[in-house]
């Protein structure tokens, strides 16, 4: 569903993905076309096995399409080498996972600092920025705590701070509230919404949860590897 008016931040054209396991091959995506403008907040929905996470991985440069093209801000990424993709991800994408994926042996601050290790920033600047990101998600006071000492919601906030710290253009969230209770999930989703509205972060969020999807500007539905529908949420409209 390309947007014909403005230049999109993300443009997918005819994207197919086939996984081959031994003798068997499985087609997960079938010619997906999708445009996402800068500043958008999209909820990518669909049943299990519909290809949501695969699509997210392709947009995030974690995987390569079998056919078609993926362009982010006009740059096609499907042909980039592994090292080029890594560098591109470090500069452009912030990832938020369902299970937070924090490194257990590092404090919250050290976890948030990880993406900055790939920059040439001096140690004191890295620390300052990590604390700032933690402050943004309301966790500055827990900076020295290790993940095991934090609640699920707090861990996800650290994960969001880690995704934000390098100021990426795009936040990719894979079921960010899938492991949280309703109340905490609402807090996290409110935080994402605020980031989108006040900081202009473009967000793509995979979710099964219709309530979570309501926090997005748009909902895009995927089924059996094909985009089957799109809706704009009223609150954002």
């Amino acid at each position: 569903m390309p947007d014909s008016g403005t230049t999109p931040l993300i443009a997918l054209r005819g994207v197919c993905k086939r996984y081959v396991r031994g003798q068997q091959s499985v087609d997960v995506l079938h010619g997906v076309d999708l445009d996402i403008p800068e500043g958008d907040f999209i909820a990518l929905m669909g049943p299990s096995g519909s290809g949501k996470t695969t699509l997210l991985n392709l947009i995030g440069g974690l995987d390569q399409p079998t056919e078609g093209s993926v362009a982010v801000d006009g740059k096609r990424i499907e042909g980039l080498s592994s090292a080029e993709l890594a560098a591109w991800r470090a500069c452009n994408i912030g990832f938020i996972f369902q299970f937070y994926n924090l490194l257990p042996m590092l404090s919250a601050r050290r976890n948030v600092e990880l993406p900055l290790l790939l920059t040439s920033l001096p140690a004191h600047e890295r620390k300052r920025r990590a604390l700032l990101a933690l402050e943004l998600v309301g966790l500055a006071a827990r900076a020295d705590h290790k993940p095991a000492e934090l609640s699920g919601g707090e861990e996800q906030r650290v994960s969001i701070a880690r995704a934000l710290v390098s100021d990426p253009r795009l936040l990719i969230c894979d079921e960010p509230t899938g492991d949280l209770d309703r109340h905490t999930a609402d807090e996290i989703l409110s935080l994402l919404k605020a980031l989108n509205e006040s900081h202009g972060n473009t967000i793509i969020m995979v979710t099964h949860d219709p309530k979570a999807a309501e926090y997005a500007r748009r909902q895009v539905h995927l089924d059996k590897g094909v985009l089957v529908g799109e809706a704009t949420n009223g609150a954002h409209a």
């Binding site: 995030g60 090292a83 990832f95 994926n101 490194l103 993406p115 790939l118």
Partner: protein, 386 residues
């Protein structure tokens, strides 16, 4: 250095396992330090010998005596500057465990031919004037609490006194110090006068254990050695002349090929260490599959992941290895087992270099397979396993 905290934290992820692995590395390098010090002493102690000195012994064995009458004939060989003679006494002080070299020497000649021996004040004159006089190494005197003027009884094992007694008594008239590195062995020896020994022994008068021959020109050593041996060919006591280096080496090899034994033990130890450390590293990386995938997701490229895992194994091996070698270096001076004839045990520079090389090699071999595995890790597959 930016990534040091990450590498360090990964290493401390499982503290007990890392500690136990470190302990095995420390133990292996401690053992390496000990064994290599022994190997160096036994194989390179000879390198400290004088280059201008030949040792002439019986061709059969250096414990077979040579006639004293050879003395003048050797002196007449062109290229020979001077010579001294000596005899192994093999006396025991109180207990066999107190072993040290005690040697009967022709006093003035022996000291003249060994300028590297530094004597305490008045020792030289006292040694030449007192027939029962003995020079003892400073280290040996310190070990037994001896002082100048003390009378030291030695129990003869090879040379009983002609009176029938096996006890020989010597008076300490001076201390020997190492004037330079070559003389370190003298700090654990005792020298006494050959004339006192020869007159007092029950048998073997008129013979010497070996001759120390000083040549005028070190470049002529081989020719002089051949000339000396040619002089006594087909006689009842044929000779074998060799450089002091070769002689010391042959002496050390009485104990077996220590270098080979040491190397064999070290190879077994390091092979075991390789398996233990390799298993630890492999398990450590396997457990962190998802974490490594997260790092890749954040933008850590494959090369960086490879280097981080390698740095982890290198750091672990270097910490353990340097601790082990340092411990060996600190504790070796407490062992003076070989001090009698060979230099004291210590970690030589070449052992540090070899040890460091082994650490780097071990770190690389142990770290490379898991590092390559981590490098090849597919992000989506690894995250999906979680």
């Amino acid at each position: 250095m930016r990534f040091f905290s990450l590498v360090w934290a990964s290493l401390l992820r499982r503290k007990t396992r890392t500690f136990l692995t470190l302990l095995s590395i420390v133990t292996a390098f401690l053992l390496f330090g000990f064994l290599d010090a022994v190997r160096v002493v036994f194989t390179q102690g000879s390198a400290q010998a004088g280059v201008d000195r030949l040792i002439t012994t019986s061709r059969i064995s250096f414990i077979q005596p040579l006639p004293l009458a050879y003395r003048e004939r050797i002196l007449a060989v062109p290229g020979v500057a001077t010579l001294a003679h000596a005899n192994w006494f093999g006396g025991i002080y109180q207990d066999r465990r107190n072993f040290f070299a005690n040697i009967a020497v022709s006093p003035a000649e022996y000291l003249a031919i060994h300028p590297e021996i530094a004597l305490s004040d008045g020792a030289y004159e006292a040694f030449l004037s007192r027939r029962t006089g003995a020079l003892v190494g400073r280290e040996l005197a310190r070990k037994h609490g001896w002082a100048i003027g003390d009378r030291i009884p030695l129990q003869a094992t090879l040379w009983p006194h002609k009176s029938g007694s096996t006890t020989w008594t010597f008076e300490i008239v001076g201390l020997m110090q190492a004037g330079d590195e070559r003389a370190r062995k003298f700090e654990n020896q005792m020298l006494f006068r050959y004339d006192y020994f020869d007159e007092g022994r029950m048998s073997g008068q008129g013979t010497a254990g070996w001759y120390i021959v000083k040549v005028r020109d070190p470049a002529e050593s081989t020719r002089v050695a051949l000339a000396i041996d040619a002089l006594f060919r087909n006689s009842a006591a044929e000779t074998r002349s060799q450089s002091e280096k070769e002689f010391n080496l042959a002496f050390a090899r009485q104990f077996g090929d220590v270098g080979l034994i040491a190397r064999a033990i070290m190879a077994a130890v390091f092979f075991t260490l390789l398996l233990v450390t390799g298993h630890t590293m492999a398990q450590g990386v396997r457990e962190r599959t998802a974490e490594l995938a997260v790092l890749k997701t954040l933008g850590f490229d494959n090369g960086l992941i490879l280097r981080l895992v390698l740095a982890e194994s290198m750091l672990m091996v270097l910490i353990g290895g340097l601790t082990g070698l340092s411990l060996a270096s600190l504790t070796l001076p407490l062992f003076k087992t070989f001090g009698a004839q060979l230099p004291p045990l210590r970690i030589a520079a070449e052992s540090w270099v070899a040890g460091f090389g082994i650490m780097l090699g071990l770190g690389l071999v142990v770290g490379l397979p898991p590092a390559v595995r981590a490098m090849r890790l597919g992000i989506t597959e690894a995250l999906a396993e979680r």
